[in-house]
């Protein structure tokens, strides 16, 4: 996999590491996505979307397994990203998979809410 700098962010509390494996894009989130993460997360998701559209990606995986917490502003950044995908013509839309960690209880309800928001585009996969 090659690291894709345009959709990567790292600081002491939160990281979003993007990779393009050729089979699809993967964004690995780790740490706490609180108010300080809103701007970088929005920027990363916008870049990820541009990359996915430009490269005609069919799938994008968001790996939440190391995401300890996400506030509503970061949650909204995902709502905006999902809306941007929905606003694309059908042949340019890509599928999204969210990998979750059952040990972080907030993920069950929050990721389910996001999946319900775009049930035809999003699938959930829980870590074993």
């Amino acid at each position: 996999m090659s690291d894709v700098a345009a959709f990567t962010h790292r600081d002491t509390e939160f990281s979003a590491i993007g990779q393009d494996s050729g089979d699809g894009l993967v964004l690995e989130l780790a740490g706490t996505a609180d108010a300080r993460a809103v701007e970088p997360l929005g920027r990363v998701l916008a870049a990820l979307h541009r990359h996915a559209i430009a490269n005609k990606s069919r799938t994008v995986t968001i790996d939440f397994r190391h995401a300890e917490f996400m506030n509503s502003s970061c949650f909204k950044a995902f709502v905006m990203w999902i809306t941007a995908v929905q606003d694309e013509p059908p042949d340019r839309q890509y599928k999204m998979t969210f990998l979750s960690n059952p040990q972080f209880h907030w993920q069950r309800r929050s990721l389910h809410a996001l999946a319900c928001f775009a049930a035809d585009l999003i699938s959930l996969d829980s870590a074993s």
């Binding site: 609180d34 108010a35 309800r109």
Partner: protein
């Protein structure tokens, strides 16, 4: 500056009061502290997570809109009652405009018959307007499964999230 008062009753009750100058950097720290204290008196990790979520969302709102140097968060676990009542409250001074907006959002969320369905409505609104529009409060009702209320006394705003469920 962060001042803390913690009382832990023998019947499983707990009371935590934290006052601090508005700083978004403190919010995650306080959420973790509230979750750690909740773990001492509650056994359900899902409930503890929900209390943490409610604490974080209420506190971020309070910090963002506080007009002076202080925000206070309270955690109350009433151990003598079954099921235990868990309440998270924030208190701060805010502008009249913000207090009115907050009260409207809470009234609308509280009136919704299905908080989960209404949260989807809030997500739709946020996606089109770009404005928060009570998404954090809606999340408390839908995901933390807590009831919201708001009391205003002059320019002091107190918002509470309460659950009756505890295991």
């Amino acid at each position: 500056m962060l001042n803390a008062t913690l009382k832990h009753g023998q019947n499983g009750s707990a009371y935590l009061e934290l006052s601090f100058s508005p700083s978004l950097e403190f919010v995650s720290l306080v959420r973790r502290l509230v979750a750690a204290i909740s773990e001492q008196v509650l056994t359900d990790p899902d409930l503890i997570s929900r209390i943490g979520l409610a604490t974080h969302e209420l506190l971020e709102n309070a910090v963002k809109y506080s007009v002076d140097g202080e925000t206070t968060v309270y955690l109350e676990v009433a151990g003598a009652e079954q099921p235990q009542v868990v309440t998270v409250r924030t208190r701060n001074r805010g502008s009249a405009d913000h207090a009115s907006s907050l009260a409207r959002n809470i009234d609308e969320i509280s009136a919704a018959r299905d908080p989960t369905a209404f949260f989807q409505t809030l997500m739709q609104r946020a996606s089109r307007s770009g404005k928060p529009g009570g998404l954090g409060l809606g999340r408390i009702a839908a995901e933390a499964e807590m009831r919201l209320s708001c009391v205003r006394d002059g320019d002091v705003v107190e918002v509470a999230a309460r659950t009756l469920e505890a295991r």
